[in-house]
Amino acid sequence: MSDPYTLHTLDNGLRIVIETMPGVNSAAAGFLARTGARDETRELAGVSHFLEHMCFKGTSKRDWHEISVAFDDLGSMYNAFTSADRTFYFGWVPQNQISAQIEILADMMRPAIPEEEFAMEKKVILEEIAMSKDSLEHVAFEFVLEKVFEGHALRWPVLGYDDTVGNLTRDQLHAYFESRYAPDNMILIVAGNVDPAQIIGQAEQLCGSWKPSGELRKRVTPSINKGSASQVVSRFNQQVIAMNFPAPGGSDPMHDSAEAATAILGGSNSRFYWNIVQTGLSPHAGAYRLDFDDCGLTILSAQTDADDDGLNKLVDAMRKEAHAICTEKVRDEEVQRVKNKRRTTLAVEGESPYHRLVQIMDDVDYRGAPRTVAQRLESVEAVSADSIAEFYEKYPIDTDGFFISVGPREWPAGSN
């Protein structure tokens, strides 16, 4: 099969990545701004996410309502998200609307940031922060980041804090935009039944005048803290336990082994599922990976409304499984089962331009180049019991990590 990719860079540094998918009836496009919550100061915590909202709130060409109408007139499935590493804006449309979709997205990448809309959107984001505080999972996750990355910008919540969002000014947000949304810090990605030459020509016309900054983003790799901490939040019923350990980042060659290792320990049909959930210790227990540009976390987490005795048993069981997988090589059949599932998932994901768009974004941002479904599959097939053993040797999870407890009780006693 011929290479489905067309790669191009405009003179101003804007990279363009296109995957042609001849068999589908739709297409998806997205702009990746390579900036996120970790690129903020404490004073500006939440500014990346605020800017993401403001890109929908007006440009020199359209007001906020005209932007929404333009998307909806295409029948687009569209949105945006912000993470610690990046901000991504996307739309998925019928094939014949992809040119119009790219035009709207490109327009949004040069937002006007009207003062009155800035004030209105601040209210919306403060509601979003309030909503997140009513979610135990969200509260626990933010506490994990705050403690594990204390001393580093990765500890900011993506939404920011009430005070930083409340105090943020339009000028501060605009200055952040100027410094981060330069074309040499952005990538246009398109997937679907499209004509690459037409897209490159359109991108040149729409984005060619954007001024590059010449500044590469500067990131400092965090040290990942060890220790323990608890947070008492009396209005919840369940206690969340999270054990956190260093892991490779999204660009690390060990990434696929880390994924498989975590799936064997704490995915569906995993050791955690059978030895923790199915023994009644916790309704939700699993192992997860958190990828960043240059580092990652393995998080072993579970929740329960049990008493101290139940919590102790739960933690002992989690530690026992963590120790076992670090000291005894996983069985070949366990590895093969994970690979088989991944093969099916990749077949599913390969069907839709939207899913391909998100995968390409991940590959391009973390690895510098896209991978076809077949290439992704090759990486998965290369995982073995030996490569998983190497992973756990380098990134053990039976040592001191950072132990977090969040919920209605001060547990372990005296840990608050």
Partner: protein
């Protein structure tokens, strides 16, 4: 070339299949008329417990070995329980379809419901109940569902703390015996599969599975409770849930309702997003959606906001619903319809979506429906159709739930015994 098949197999299974030869995978869904509405009155929660435990042990497999067998073929499979049915869906590569059917037959036909697994499942469900109260939005959904649908359709899959006390292995086994069988099943597939071959496989593996006579398809009546009730809960935000009766999927005015919901809550230019969020900044989340038990329809409005802005949000939600009948424009209508049509077309690229679409057709209409015709019905809706729909379904009876720290004027305070764990 795409081809759709629909027939009833000798074993009693109602079978539907969309052959999509150019795809690389197959989606299969087993839908059984055994939802929460079918539960005995004193065994609430048993439908979900059945679904949770049915694959934890069979005559030929221990639970873990069965899961391993699914993983060996890379099958992505899952289960769910709704108001009127339970579903078991699977996504698999074409070469493993036969093995996937064998494994589904193994747990659906020959479950043993091991005593120890049932006991754990009951305890986990009790913990799920506790976890539900840590999620304000899901809790509000549960409460408005019970209030809007009433005794049968309003049941929650988790049952109640009291009903869980009465459940055991025998109640699950009885429920499986009474409500699972080929005559209560619809099996639908899509993707790179030969429909005749799949039909033969189903007949081979499900022949003799209970009575082949069609059963369990009675329609449950909605018992709508038009009250406004506040449930007190410590939280940052107040949850608002509003329900009123709409039309059912099989009625001629359904497309008008569907487009009206698109006008209210389709994309970001829709009325609720525009009026509640963009113009007033009252919320981050606001939505309107429809639910369709067979033979009925229910419209829901939902939002969450800080307690001191609850009244304003509530008033705006209702104002916007009323306003649709008065000043809807052709442009808005066309935009809402365009969104629906485009989404249907784009999701057509996904094998799993095609399977779900056909499963819904059989569930609600007992036949596959032409995709073009469905799209045309949406495109044909006019402003006048929506006005007629609104005239025929006046919002003169509302079921309202607020959940949070502040009681809204005009609401009753929930009886603590009915809030089941919410602090009153």
């Amino acid at each position: 070339m795409e081809k759709t098949i629909h027939k009833t197999l000798p074993c009693g299974i109602e079978f539907g299949c969309v052959e999509l030869p150019d795809r690389h995978a197959v989606a299969i869904e087993f839908r059984i008329f055994s939802g929460t509405a079918h539960e005995p009155d004193d065994k609430l929660g048993v439908a979900r417990l059945l679904q949770e435990t049915i694959d934890l042990g069979t005559e030929n497999f221990e639970g873990r070995a069965l899961s391993d067998a699914f993983d060996e073929i890379g099958a992505s499979h899952s289960g769910w329980v709704g108001r009127e049915a339970a579903g078991y869906s699977c996504f698999v590569l074409p070469e493993f379809v036969e093995r996937a059917i064998e494994l589904h037959a193994e747990y659906l036909r020959r479950p043993t419901f091991p005593e120890d697994k049932v006991s754990v499942a009951i305890d986990l469900t009790r913990q799920e109940w506790s976890a539900l109260h840590d999620d304000a939005q899901s809790l509000a959904d549960k409460i408005i569902g019970a209030q809007a649908y009433g005794k049968y359709l309003g049941r929650h899959a988790l049952g109640t703390p009291e009903s869980l006390e009465k459940l055991d292995r025998k109640s699950i086994l009885d429920h499986w015996t009474n409500t699972y069988g080929a005559g209560r099943m619809q099996v639908v597939a899509s993707g790179a599969i030969d429909a005749d071959r799949l039909a033969d496989l189903l007949e081979k593996h499900f022949g003799g599975y209970g009575s082949p006579s069609e059963s369990g398809r009675d329609i449950f009546e909605v018992e709508f409770d038009a009250r406004r009730i506040h449930h007190d809960k410590e939280a940052e935000q107040q949850q608002i849930a509003i329900a009123f009766r709409g039309t059912s999927l099989d009625r001629d005015d359904y497309p008008a309702q569907r487009v009206m919901l698109g006008v209210l809550s389709g994309g970001m230019s829709s009325r609720l997003f525009t009026e509640v969020r963009e113009k007033q900044g009252l919320v981050y989340w606001v939505s309107a959606w429809g639910e369709y038990p067979r033979g009925s329809g229910m419209i829901f409005l939902g939002a969450s906001t800080k307690p001191d802005r609850c009244h304003e949000t509530y008033d705006t939600l209702l104002r916007e619903v009323d306003r649709v009948g008065k000043d809807l424009t052709d442009e808005e209508l066309k935009r809402a319809a365009t969104g629906m049509v485009a989404k249907r077309e784009m999701q057509g690229d996904m094998t799993r979506s095609r399977c779900g679409e056909l499963a819904d057709d059989l569930f609600h209409f007992r036949r596959p429906r032409d995709r073009r015709e469905k799209i045309e019905r949406i495109k044909r809706v006019t402003v006048k159709d929506i006005q007629n729909y609104l005239d025929a379904h006046p919002r003169d009876a509302l079921s309202v739930v607020t959940l949070g720290p502040r009681r809204m004027e005009g609401t009753e305070v929930a009886d603590g015994t009915k809030t089941e764990g919410v602090t009153a």
